[in-house]
C-alpha cells in the first residue's frame, strides 16, 4: 500500500532511474547494431570469407587481414563477420521460435488447465529430465550434425522454459483482482489471455529470451565445437574456435578472435537482458 503513491521520487532514485533508462537504451542500440551487423555482414566483409589461399596460411593480423588468416589462408576477420550471421541469427531464430511456441503453450496450459496442461507439462518434464545439452548431444549425435539439427536439438528443450514461466505466471495472475474485474467487464477468454494476461507476463518472458540468446549461442557453438554443429566450410564462431585449436601455439589469432568476439557478443546480450529486466521492473522503473 505504501508504494502505491510513491510520486515523490527523490533525487537518488531519479538518478538511478535515469541510469536504468540510459543503460537500457544504450545497450539496445548496441544490440541492434550487433544484429544489424550480422544481417549485413556479407556486404561488409573486406575479403571473401570462403576464398582460400594456401600460400598465405596462418598469417598474423595485418592491415589487409585485421584478424590474420586461418589455416586455409582465409581472412579471419571476414569469417568472424560472416560467422556473426550464423551464430547470432541462428541463436535469435531459435530463441524467437521457442519463445513463441513456449509462451503460447504456457499461457494456454495455465489458463485452461485440464488434460491439455497435463499433456504438455508431462512432455516438458520428460524433456527437462535430460540434463542441459545432453539431449542436444544425443539428437545431434544420433541424427547427425548440421546447423539445423543442432538448432532442433537445442530447441527441443528450449521452449519448456517459456512454457513453465508463462504457465506459472498465468496461474497466479488468473486469480488476480484485475483479471476478475476484467471478466466482470465482459471480456472473452481470448481477450483476457491476450489483452490482459499476456502484456503483463511478456516482460518476464522477454527478459528470459534475451538472456537465452547468449545461452543458445553458446549451445550452438558448443555443439559445433564438438563437431555436431555447422559443417565445413561454414563459418560459425564455435567451429572456428575449434578449428583454430590446433594452431593455438602457431597462430593463436585463429581461435582467439572468434572466441573473444563470441564472448563479447554474449556479454552484450546478457547485459541487455539485465538492463531490460531492470527497465521493466516496476520496483525500479515506475514511470513506464
Amino acid at each position: 500500500m505504501d508504494e502505491v503513491k510513491i510520486l515523490p521520487m527523490e533525487e537518488k532514485k531519479k538518478r538511478s532511474l535515469n541510469f536504468v533508462k540510459l543503460r537500457f537504451y544504450l545497450l539496445m542500440v548496441i544490440t541492434i547494431i550487433l544484429i544489424f551487423i550480422s544481417i549485413v555482414a556479407p556486404y561488409m566483409v573486406p575479403n571473401d570469407p570462403y576464398a582460400t589461399d594456401i600460400r598465405g596460411r596462418n598469417l598474423p593480423p595485418s592491415q589487409e587481414f585485421l584478424f590474420g588468416t586461418d589455416s586455409h589462408g582465409r581472412c579471419v576477420f571476414s569469417r568472424v563477420l560472416i560467422g556473426a550471421r550464423t551464430s547470432i541469427s541462428a541463436a535469435l531464430m531459435l530463441v524467437i521460435i521457442t519463445f513463441v511456441i513456449g509462451t503460447t503453450i504456457g499461457i494456454v496450459c495455465g489458463y485452461y488447465g485440464g488434460w491439455i496442461d497435463n499433456l504438455f507439462m508431462r512432455i516438458a518434464d520428460i524433456l527437462l529430465a535430460f540434463p542441459d545439452i545432453i539431449l542436444g548431444i544425443a539428437v545431434a549425435g544420433i541424427i547427425g550434425g548440421g546447423l539445423f539439427n543442432a538448432m532442433l536439438a537445442l530447441g527441443l528443450t528450449g521452449w519448456t522454459q517459456y512454457a513453465r514461466v508463462a504457465r506459472s505466471n498465468v496461474l497466479t495472475m488468473k486469480e488476480d483482482t484485475f483479471i476478475q474485474a476484467a471478466r466482470l467487464s465482459g471480456n472473452s477468454d481470448l481477450r483476457l489471455l491476450f489483452r490482459h494476461i499476456l502484456p503483463n507476463i511478456i516482460g518476464v518472458l522477454v527478459v528470459i529470451a534475451t538472456l537465452q540468446i547468449g545461452t543458445m549461442m553458446m549451445g550452438i557453438a558448443g555443439l559445433s565445437f564438438l563437431g555436431l554443429g555447422v559443417q565445413v566450410p561454414q563459418a560459425e564462431w564455435g567451429s572456428m574456435v575449434n578449428s583454430g585449436r590446433s594452431y593455438l601455439q602457431i597462430a593463436p589469432w585463429i581461435s582467439l578472435f572468434p572466441g573473444l568476439v563470441m564472448m563479447v557478443t554474449i556479454i552484450i546480450f546478457n547485459l541487455f537482458g539485465d538492463a531490460l529486466r531492470d527497465f521493466l521492473d516496476p520496483r525500479i522503473n515506475n514511470s513506464s
Binding site: 529430465a129 540434463p131 542441459d132 545439452i133 545432453i134 549425435g141 547427425g144 564455435g238 601455439q249 581461435s255
Partner: protein, 309 residues
C-alpha cells in the same frame, strides 16, 4: 515426508519411461542401418546376407513397439547391449567411466560453492560499492566465456606455458584441477550472481529490519538468518545447475581427456556406437533426475513450511 518421497518416486516412472522412449525413438529414426553399422564397426566384410542375418539377430525386423519393449526389458535387467566398437558390455563401459565423471562433477560443485557463496554474500553486503561492481564485472565475463574456449586457454597457460599442471588429466588428482577450474568458472559466475540476488532480496525482507530493530547482532542476522534462508534457494539452484554441469563435463572431458562418461560418449558419437550413446543418455538423465529428487527433498527438509503443511 515419506509419502512425499514415495509419490515423487512414482512420478519418476512415467518420466523415465518417456525418456527411454524418446532416446530409443531417436535411435530408431537415426539415419543408417544399425546392423550394417554394427558390422562395419567390426570390420567384417559386409554382404547383404550377413546384414539380413544380423538384422534378424538384432531384432530389427520386429515392429517398433516390440523392439522398444525388448530393449527396455534388457535395459532394466542391466543389459544395455554391447558396444558396436569393441563388443564390451555398455553397462561395464559406463560403470568404468562413471566414477570419473562423478569425481569431476563433485569437485566442480564443491569449488563452485566454496567460491560463489562467500563472494556472492560479499557482493550483496557491499551492495553498489566498488567491490560489488568488480565482482559483477568478473561474473559477466565468466558467464559469457564458453567453456571450450576457457579450457583451451587454461591448458595453454597452466600446462604448457607455466608447466604447473599436466596436459593429460588421465583421471589423476593433479589432472583434476584444470577441468575442475574450467567447469567451475562459468558455474561460479552464475552462482555468484544468483547468490547475490537472493541474499540482497533476503536482506531487504522485513524480518531483517525486525531483527535489526531488536538489536540483534549483524553477524547473527547474516549467518544465522539470511544465509540459512537463502540456503533453500541456493539448493534449488544446485539442482537446476546439475544439468548444465553434466552437459559441461562432456565438452571439458573431451578437451582434457578426462576418462569420464562425457569422453566416452563423444568417442561413441564419433564411432556411431549407438548402444553406448543410448546407455549414456538414459544414465545421465537418471542421475540428473535423482539428484533433483534429492534436492527437492532437502529443500523440503530445510523449509518447515513445506513439510509440515
Amino acid at each position: 515426508m515419506f509419502q512425499y518421497i514415495i509419490k515423487r518416486l512414482l512420478q519418476l516412472i512415467p518420466i523415465m519411461l518417456g525418456v527411454t522412449l524418446l532416446t530409443f525413438g531417436l535411435m530408431y529414426l537415426a539415419p543408417g542401418d544399425p546392423a550394417s553399422m554394427k558390422l562395419s564397426a567390426q570390420g567384417v566384410p559386409i554382404s547383404q546376407d550377413i546384414i539380413e542375418q544380423t538384422r534378424i539377430e538384432m531384432g530389427l525386423d520386429n515392429p517398433f513397439v516390440l523392439q522398444y519393449l525388448t530393449w527396455l526389458r534388457n535395459f532394466l535387467s542391466g543389459d544395455m547391449g554391447k558396444s558396436y566398437a569393441d563388443h564390451l558390455p555398455v553397462a561395464e563401459k559406463l560403470m568404468r567411466a562413471l566414477p570419473k565423471t562423478i569425481m569431476l562433477s563433485i569437485s566442480s560443485m564443491m569449488v563452485t560453492l566454496l567460491v560463489s557463496i562467500p563472494i556472492g554474500i560479499l557482493a550483496a553486503v557491499k551492495h553498489n560499492k566498488a567491490s560489488d561492481y568488480l565482482i559483477r564485472c568478473m561474473t559477466f565475463i565468466g558467464v559469457a566465456m564458453p567453456n571450450f574456449f576457457l579450457s583451451l586457454l587454461l591448458i595453454y597457460f597452466f600446462a604448457l606455458k607455466l608447466n604447473w599442471l599436466p596436459v593429460l588429466a588421465e583421471g589423476s588428482l593433479k589432472g583434476l584441477i584444470l577441468p575442475t577450474v574450467a567447469l567451475s568458472i562459468a558455474m561460479s559466475s552464475r552462482y555468484i550472481r544468483q547468490v547475490r540476488a537472493v541474499v540482497l532480496e533476503e536482506l531487504n525482507k522485513e524480518y531483517v529490519v525486525g531483527a535489526r530493530a531488536r538489536g540483534v547482532k549483524e553477524r547473527i542476522i547474516l549467518y544465522k538468518n539470511v544465509l540459512y534462508n537463502t540456503m533453500v534457494t541456493i539448493i534449488t539452484l544446485i539442482g537446476l545447475s546439475i544439468g548444465s554441469l553434466l552437459g559441461g563435463t562432456v565438452i571439458v572431458e573431451t578437451i582434457f581427456i578426462w576418462p569420464g562418461l562425457g569422453k566416452l560418449v563423444m568417442d561413441a558419437i564419433g564411432a556411431r556406437d549407438y548402444p553406448v550413446i543410448q546407455g549414456f543418455v538414459v544414465w545421465m538423465t537418471f542421475i540428473y533426475v535423482m539428484v533433483n529428487l534429492i534436492v527437492d527433498i532437502s529443500y523440503r527438509l530445510l523449509d518447515p513450511r513445506t513439510y509440515s503443511s
